[in-house]
Amino acid sequence: MPIFVPRDKAIMRLLRPIIAMGICLSMALGASAQALDSSDSSEYLIKAGFIYNFAKLVGWPQGAFAQPDSPIVIGILGTDPFGGIIDRVLADKQIDARHFVIKRLKWGMDLKGCDILFIGSSEAVHLEEVLHALKGLPVLTIGETPGFARRGCIINLIVEDNKVRFEVNLDAAKQADLNISSRLLALARIIPQSAADVR
């Protein structure tokens, strides 16, 4: 065995339990652990979770919903990156008395019936026209393409270091008459509207 000076011995005495604890505890846990659901994390599963949270933390103006139990309509515009994930995540979920309804939309279809509009990357070329069509309506627009928030999308999801982050364009939220909770804002990156679009 190697030779240590006394100082190292003391440090070793200190460290051995830490290491032993780490390894042993891990092993013991592994042996006795029950088989629980594995937490598979995937981009669009996480993003669906974000959308659900946004729906909880955004206040729509009075009159945006016809009835107290009118569903929250989520439109997915353009190429749908969620597959069936968002439908499964939001099935049977409700916020207050509102269920979710998910619609797949294509460019050119009527967007006005949505409360939340997820604008896919495929729509980058006509984002301005989409936003123009929704001008003044209480629709929470959500994108996932760099630059969308600056261009007037209210929330933009971005992946950074393999984690999902989001930007909020407050001017756009104000124009849509949506009230965004401070809890949401505290976690967001606030993006100013690009000068050209401020009117």
Partner: protein, 693 residues
């Protein structure tokens, strides 16, 4: 070689349809929704994201966690993935530093600009059984069958992940992927848009700066350019005096990724570098009264590479074509200079045959041009050589029992100018026991083909002064190591097993064990003395000639566990046990004693605690233990590293830390063959800043 697909999703090739999530960074988002067999398409497996807060969701990893704890679960090989987060949180300042966290790897620093890095034994500065790739480009030098670690570098912030496979990867990666494959994969240009400026300073690393900028050309084409400079202080020798091993390097490069159409994507990337290094050398000398001379030696390396890759997707198959050129110039004014050019072309075709079968085949060609300048210490004959290598491989993966069992069978076939035809088959079986548990086993053959030096080297290692007992030679005796055209490939037959369990949503364990049986390992056999020094001999050469008279077994076990104790607190640890029984054959006359484990540690521990604190602070503590290196008389050591990261603004990342806090100074390795003075690893402190815009 078939590194094309192995670049994007390297492990997919080795283990079938495994790392789907790993593709997130290289695929357009629209392609990702199919999240793999155990992914969210499987309702029982989906965590309830609606019960998670935004904070929790923001802490979920899109790729990395899954890759290590779930997707790696589908690979029939011992795989470890270092993520970008691991690199940042460990405070690693270089690629070798980052590799220290991998179970089963041995990483030892020799001096400020040299390392010994190996997998599962045989570690050395000129370790020849580990294959290293950067974005699909092999950085294995044909000169000594190893890696010039001092010329391999990237902007660490631009690394997407480093995938390390312990054990043979020869069926896919070819000869020399004997004990392991290290795949350094940088982010796509699309993932590195905008600017990044980093600066670091520390007690050891005087300064390090990098600048990167990424932008967009047209609709589907992204680029980035970077520059990186660092300057390292000389370290100290055993007496505490300043050594001569300072090092500074300048490097620059670019990458362009284009998804021209949905079916075609292109990547072009390149790098160029220049570094100046110092060291203290001891070389034999006939003119000195001590017959050796020790002096500070300064040299430089320059080089560059250019790589292009084209991926094309058909409805049920995909192809990729990759070409690269790599140039390395080693300018060491007193010992050895070398210029090496590698041209490589690879083609790979993946075909899905029905629901349960995937066939991959590929072709490769590599041309190597080498020219070198000799000295009394090191000479390589011929001075110019040109080598051509051809290869082909085929591998089939079949899924059985309703996808619960996967069998992979394949082989590489290659031809090299030294030993001719080689084949490297493997069989791998993966069984899924439950959703959370899998077992795997593999039997594979790998070969390590001869390097240029093993064919034509003369290395004068030391001089025995005249009159020294027991030779009592009237002339000085030069002990020299010779290559030999008779040197054959080294062979490995490897048996591996593994077990993985995702025991709870927060705890996972990965266990790998192996038995490796080596034959025809390199020995140095004494030959008949030769008179040297011209017509009137002035010295006698005692040659030790490269031969294949060594072999034996190695075995080991490598558990790795990760436990998320709290959402904000994770600990992970690994233990590596290695036992080597390598012996000379009965007919070998090699005078080197057989020392079990040689220059490789028998036991290693790695432990890390990663804590996320409020206010965007993160704190990491790393404890490592490396056992003694028996043949080098290097004692075991513990090391403690601390790292604190702080992100006060989304664009700003600050980091502070200390490495080797338990030791004032210690030695990690003593190099073989070339007598470079190893220097002491010291306790260091550093701080860094990185700004994105």
């Amino acid at each position: 070689m078939s590194s094309i697909r192995k670049n994007n999703t390297s492990l997919m090739a080795s283990a079938g349809r495994i790392f789907l999530l790993g593709m997130l960074t290289v695929c357009p988002p629209g392609n990702v929704s199919a999240s793999g067999p155990s992914g969210p398409d499987n309702p029982q497996n989906v965590p309830d994201v609606t019960s998670m807060s935004l904070e929790d969701l923001m802490n979920l990893q899109v790729t990395s966690v899954s890759k290590r704890t779930q997707k790696v679960g589908d690979a029939a090989a011992a795989v470890f993935v270092i993520t970008q987060e691991d690199i940042r949180r460990s405070g690693a300042a270089s690629i070798p530093d980052a590799l220290r966290m991998v179970p089963g790897l041995e990483v030892a620093r020799i001096d400020e600009n040299k390392w010994a890095i190996g997998a599962r034994g045989f570690n050395g500065r000129f370790d020849n059984k580990l294959l290293v790739l950067i974005d699909g480009r092999s950085v294995y030098t044909p000169l000594f069958s190893g890696v010039y670690w001092n010329v391999q570098d990237v902007v660490l912030e631009d690394v997407d992940r480093i995938e390390v496979i312990r054990g043979p990867g020869a069926t896919l990666w070819g000869a020399n992927a004997v004990d392991g494959v290290i795949n350094i994969i940088t982010k796509s240009a699309k993932a590195t848009q905008g600017g990044l400026v980093t600066a670091e300073a520390g007690s050891e690393e005087r300064t390090a700066e990098s600048v990167r900028y990424g932008g967009k050309i047209g609709d589907n084409t992204y680029y980035r350019v970077y520059g990186k400079y660092f300057d390292w202080y000389p370290s100290i020798d055993a007496t505490g005096a300043t050594a001569s091993d300072g090092w500074h390097a300048l490097r620059s490069g670019f990458r362009v990724d284009s998804n021209a159409t949905t079916a075609n994507s292109f990547t072009v990337q390149g790098d160029i570098y220049h570094d100046n290094f110092g060291e203290t050398l001891t070389v034999p000398s006939l003119t000195s009264p001590t017959f050796s001379s020790t002096y500070p030696n300064n040299g430089y390396n320059t080089g560059g590479d250019l790589l292009g890759r084209w991926n094309h997707t058909f409805s049920r198959s995909s192809t990729s074509l990759q070409m690269y050129y790599d140039r390395t110039n080693i300018a060491d004014p007193t010992v050895f200079g070398d210029h090496e050019s590698v041209y490589d072309i690879d083609f790979q075709h993946d075909i899905h045959l029905g629901e349960s079968q995937e066939l991959v085949w590929g072709l490769g060609y590599r041309s190597i041009q080498d020219s070198n300048g000799s000295s009394f210490t090191v000479a390589l004959l011929p001075n110019h050589s040109s080598l051509n290598q051809y290869s082909a491989f085929v591998q089939d993966e079949v899924s059985l029992l309703n996808n619960r069992m996967h069998i992979t069978v394949g082989s590489k076939f290659e031809h090299n100018p030294f030993t001719g035809f080689e084949f490297e088959p493997n069989v791998r079986v993966l069984g899924t026991l439950t959703k959370q548990q899998s077992v795997w086993a593999a039997v594979s053959r790998a070969v390590r083909t001869p390097a240029l030096t093993e064919e034509g080297l003369q290395l004068n290692a030391a001089i025995i002064p005249p009159g020294t007992a027991p030779l009592n030679s009237p002339l000085p005796v030069v002990e020299a190591i010779f290559g030999s055209p008779l040197f054959q490939s080294e062979d490995l037959l490897a048996y591996e097993v593994g077990y993985r369990v995702q025991a709870t949503s927060s705890f996972s364990l990965d266990l790998a064990a192996f038995y490796n049986n080596y034959t025809n390992l390199r020995s140095a056999e004494p030959g008949a003395p030769i008179l040297g020094g011209g017509p009137i001999p002035s010295y006698v050469i005692l040659p030790f000639v490269a031969s294949n008279k060594m072999g034996g077994g190695t075995y080991g076990i490598e558990p790795f566990a990760e436990w998320k104790i709290l959402p904000r607190w994770k600990i992970l640890g690994s233990y590596s046990f290695l036992r080597m029984n390598i012996r000379k054959n009965a007919d070998s006359l090699d005078p080197t004693p057989d020392i079990p484990n040689g220059a490789s540690p028998r036991n290693q521990f790695y432990f890390r605690s990663s804590l996320d604190l409020p206010k965007h602070l993160e704190q990491d503590l790393i404890v490592r233990y490396v056992d003694q290196l028996p043949s080098l008389n290097i004692p075991s050591y513990y090391s403690l590293d601390l790292h604190v990261g702080w992100k006060p603004l989304p664009q700003l990342q600050l980091s502070f830390g200390g490495t080797d806090l338990l030791n004032k100074q210690h030695l990690e390795f003593i190099p073989e063959f070339i007598n470079t003075l190893p220097t002491e690893v010291r306790r260091t402190f550093y701080g860094g800043i990185s700004w994105t815009f």
